[in-house]
Amino acid sequence: MDLAYTPEEQAFREEVRAWLNDHLDPALATKVREDQRLSRDDIQGWAKVLGKKGWLAYGWPQAFGGPGWGAVQKHVFAEELARAGAPGIVPFGPVMVAPVIMAFGTPEQQKRFLPGIASGEVWWSQGYSEPGSGSDLASVKTRAERQGDHYIVNGQKTWTTLGQHGDWMFNLVRTSNEGKPQTGISFLLLDMKSPGVTVRPIKLLDGECEVNEVFFDNVKVPADQLIGEENKGWTYAKHLLAHERTNIADVNRSKRELERLKRIAKQEGVWEDQRFRDQIALLEVDIVALEMLVLRVLSAEKSGKNSLDIAGLLKIKGSEIQQRYTELMMLAAGPYSLPFIEEAMAAGWQGDFPGGEVANAPLASRYFNMRKTTIYGGSNEVQRNIVAQTLLG
C-alpha cells in the first residue's frame, strides 16, 4: 500500500502539465476558474486542441487511436486539466458513445464515427431521458419503426445537455413492445440535421439554456446507424453507464473549487469567522475522503482485482460535494450574491457590480445550476437503491 505516485506516473503528470502550460489559453482558463459563461466556441475550440494532440479520446485504447492509458494515468490527466482551469470535456462523444461504438459497432461504424469524436469536430448529444422517462429509463416511448433500410423515428427526448450545439445524437428508442420494457429498446445514432428534428432549448433556474427538448417527427434514419442488434439497446446502455465511473465524482474540479472557495472567503472577510471556516474545513475533509475513495477504485482497476463495490458511492458523494461548495461560495458572498445580473456573469463585463467584486456575479447562478447534480446520471435516490441492492440483495 502506497500513497505516492510512481516515478512514471509523476513524469506523466509533468508531461501533461507542461503541455497544458503551452496550449491552454490563459484567458480561457480564467473564464473557467471564475465560472464565467462559456460559448460553444470556447468548449469546442478547446476540444479540438485536445483532439489534435490525441488527448480528447483520452480514455480510448490504442487500437482505436487513443493513448491507451491506464486508470491512474487517466485520473492524473483529468486532475491536471482541472487544476489548469481547462474547460470540462463534454463527455457524450468521447466518454459515452465512443466506448459503445467500439464494443458493439461494426468496423464500418467505427471507421465512420470514431475519428470525428476523437478530433472534436463532431459534437454528440445524448438522447436518453423523455418527459415520461427520468430515473425509470427503461420506459422510453420514442418509437423507431423499421421500413426497408430505414427507421422512422417519432417521439421526444428531453434534458438533452447542450443539445443546441449537437451535430449527432445517440438515442434509446423503442423498437418493440413485446416482453419486459428493457427488451424492446434499441441504440440508434442519428444526424441532428435530419429533417423532422427540432431542438428547443429549456431555460433553467440559473438563467441559462443548458438543456433542451428534442422532437422527432417522422425522422428518417438509415438502418446502418443502428448499433448492434435491434432490441438489445438496453445492454449497450448499461455498458455505457458502467464506463468511467470515477469520472462522475469529479473530485478534481472540486479540489480546484475548494481553492476558489477559500479565496472568496478571504475576499469577503469570512475566512477568520470560525463558524464559517469550520464549514470549509468540513468540506475539505469531505473532498480528501472522496479523493481517497476515487483512488481506491482506480487502484483496484489498476491491479485488476476490482472487487470494490463502492463505485456507486462516488456519484452520491461527488454530487453532494459539488452542491456544497457552490452553496458555501454563495453564502461567503452573502448579500452580494443577491444581485443577479446576467451580463456580469460573462467575461469582460465593464459594468459596476454592486459591492465592487464582479467575481461574485455568477455565484448564485452556479449554486442554482448545481442542484442538477443529485438528479442527473441516475438520481441519488436511485444510486442508494443500487448500493442497497448490493448489500441486501
Binding site: D2, Y5, L282, K302, I310, L392
Partner: protein, 372 residues
C-alpha cells in the same frame, strides 16, 4: 498509488481474524467485561501471536513492521471489540523507538515486544480536555535522576499495566517520562469505561521515573497520532462488522408480513451507512499512510481522518441501533456494545469537534491527498 495489501499483510489479517473468531467470541468478551475489562492472559495471547511486537524494531526483538500492518491488525481487533489495549504497544514502540535513549530502548522494547511489559500512555489531565500542550504534572531532577508528581486520568488498563509514558513539566517545558507502576509513591484506581474496557486514575507523588525525551510535546503528539490511527482502524473493523450484522437483520426480521429489508426508507439508511463506512475506511488508510510523514503533514492528516471517522462512527453506531429497533437497545445483543465501542472511540484522543478545529486551523490554499 496502490491500495492493495501485500500477501504478508493478508496473512497477518487472517491470523488475527482466526484468533478473534476462535478465542474472542462475543461470549468471551462478555466474560472479560464482567471480569473488569482487562485480562492479562488475553494480552499474553496477543503477544504469543506476535502482535505486541509488530512495530518494535527488529534490533529489539520486534517484527519491525509498519503503520499499514498495524492498521490491518487493529481492524481485526475492532471486529472483535477486543478490550485489551493492543494499540498501547504500538504507541509505546513508536515513541520509544523514535525518542528513547539507547539504554531505555534496550531495556523496554524487547519486553514490550514479548508482552512481558504492558506500557501505556498516561497523558489525560482534568483541565486539558483534548489539548496536548496543557499539562500540570511536574517532574523534578534529583541527584539520582528524576521524580514525578502527577495525576492522570483514563489510563488504559492503568491498574494492570507495568509502566506508563507520562508527560510532565520539567523546568516549565513538557518532557516525557517512563514511570513504573511498582515505583514508590504510585497509586492507581481502576474503573470501567463506556465500552466495558478498563482504565484507571494514576497518581504519582515524588516517584522516581526515567526520562524518555525532553521533547515531550512532540513525542506526545506522535503518541496520540499513533493512537488516533489505531482508533481509525479499530473503528473501521467495528463498523464493517456492524454493517454485516445490520444487513443480515434487515433480511431476517419480518414485519407486516415481509422482510423489513423490503422497505426503501431502511434500504437507503443502510446505503448511507455503507457510504460512511467506506469514507471512514478510505480515511483510515490515509491516516496510517501519513503516520510516518513530517509532524505538520502527519498532524493535519490525522485530524482530517478523525473528523471523517467521528462522523462515520456516530452515524453508523446510532443508525445500527435504530435499524434493529428494540433489540438494538438491549445489553443482550451485540449491536448495543458496538454502538458503545464506537462512542468511546470517537472520544479517544480527541473528539470530532476538537479535530475539526485542528483541520480548520491547519487549512492551506490547496488541499488533497497529495498535500505535503
Amino acid at each position: 498509488m496502490d491500495f492493495d495489501f501485500s500477501d504478508d499483510q493478508q496473512q497477518l489479517r487472517d491470523a488475527a481474524r482466526r484468533w478473534v473468531d476462535k478465542a474472542y467470541t462475543f461470549e468471551h468478551r462478555r466474560a472479560a467485561v464482567n471480569a473488569g475489562g482487562f485480562r492479562r492472559e488475553t494480552y499474553n495471547a496477543l503477544a504469543e501471536l506476535g502482535l505486541t511486537a509488530l512495530n518494535v524494531p527488529e534490533a529489539h526483538d520486534g517484527m519491525g513492521l509498519g503503520a499499514v500492518d498495524a492498521m490491518v491488525v487493529m481492524e481485526e481487533m475492532g471486529r472483535g471489540m477486543v478490550l485489551e489495549p493492543l494499540a498501547q504497544s504500538l504507541i509505546a514502540a513508536k515513541v520509544l523507538a523514535q525518542y528513547g535513549a539507547d539504554a531505555v530502548q534496550a531495556d523496554w522494547l524487547p519486553r514490550i515486544a514479548s508482552g512481558e511489559a504492558l506500557v501505556v500512555l498516561a497523558h489525560q489531565e482534568r483541565r486539558a480536555r483534548y489539548r496536548l500542550d496543557q499539562c500540570e504534572s511536574k517532574a523534578q531532577q534529583t541527584p539520582d535522576g528524576y521524580t514525578l508528581t502527577a495525576h492522570k486520568s483514563l489510563v488504559p488498563a492503568g491498574d494492570q499495566a507495568d509502566a506508563f509514558l507520562v508527560p510532565a513539566l520539567l523546568n516549565g517545558t513538557q518532557a516525557l517520562f517512563l514511570l513504573e507502576r511498582s515505583a514508590p509513591g504510585v497509586t492507581t484506581r481502576g474503573y470501567v469505561t463506556q465500552d466495558g474496557s478498563r482504565a484507571a486514575e494514576l497518581e504519582a507523588a515524588h516517584s522516581p521515573a526515567t526520562l524518555v525525551t525532553a521533547e515531550g510535546l512532540a513525542a506526545l503528539e506522535l503518541a496520540v497520532d499513533t493512537g488516533s490511527a489505531a482508533v481509525c482502524a479499530e473503528a473501521v473493523g467495528v463498523m464493517d462488522q456492524v454493517l454485516t450484522i445490520t444487513a443480515d437483520y434487515l433480511n431476517q426480521r419480518k414485519q407486516f408480513g415481509v422482510a423489513i429489508a423490503s422497505f426503501q426508507a431502511l434500504r437507503h439508511r443502510l446505503a448511507d451507512m455503507k457510504m460512511q463506512l467506506e469514507l471512514a475506511r478510505s480515511m483510515s488508510y490515509y491516516a496510517s499512510l501519513q503516520l510516518d510523514q513530517p509532524a505538520d503533514q502527519r498532524r493535519r492528516a490525522i485530524a482530517r481522518a478523525r473528523v471523517q471517522l467521528g462522523q462515520s462512527m456516530r452515524f453508523v453506531g446510532q443508525q445500527a441501533v435504530q435499524l434493529h429497533g428494540g433489540i438494538g437497545v438491549t445489553d443482550e445483543y451485540i449491536v448495543s456494545h458496538q454502538f458503545k465501542k464506537l462512542t468511546q472511540l470517537e472520544m479517544t484522543y480527541g473528539d470530532s469537534l476538537h479535530h475539526l478545529g485542528e483541520v480548520s486551523a491547519r487549512m492551506q490554499a490547496t488541499a488533497g491527498v497529495g498535500d505535503t
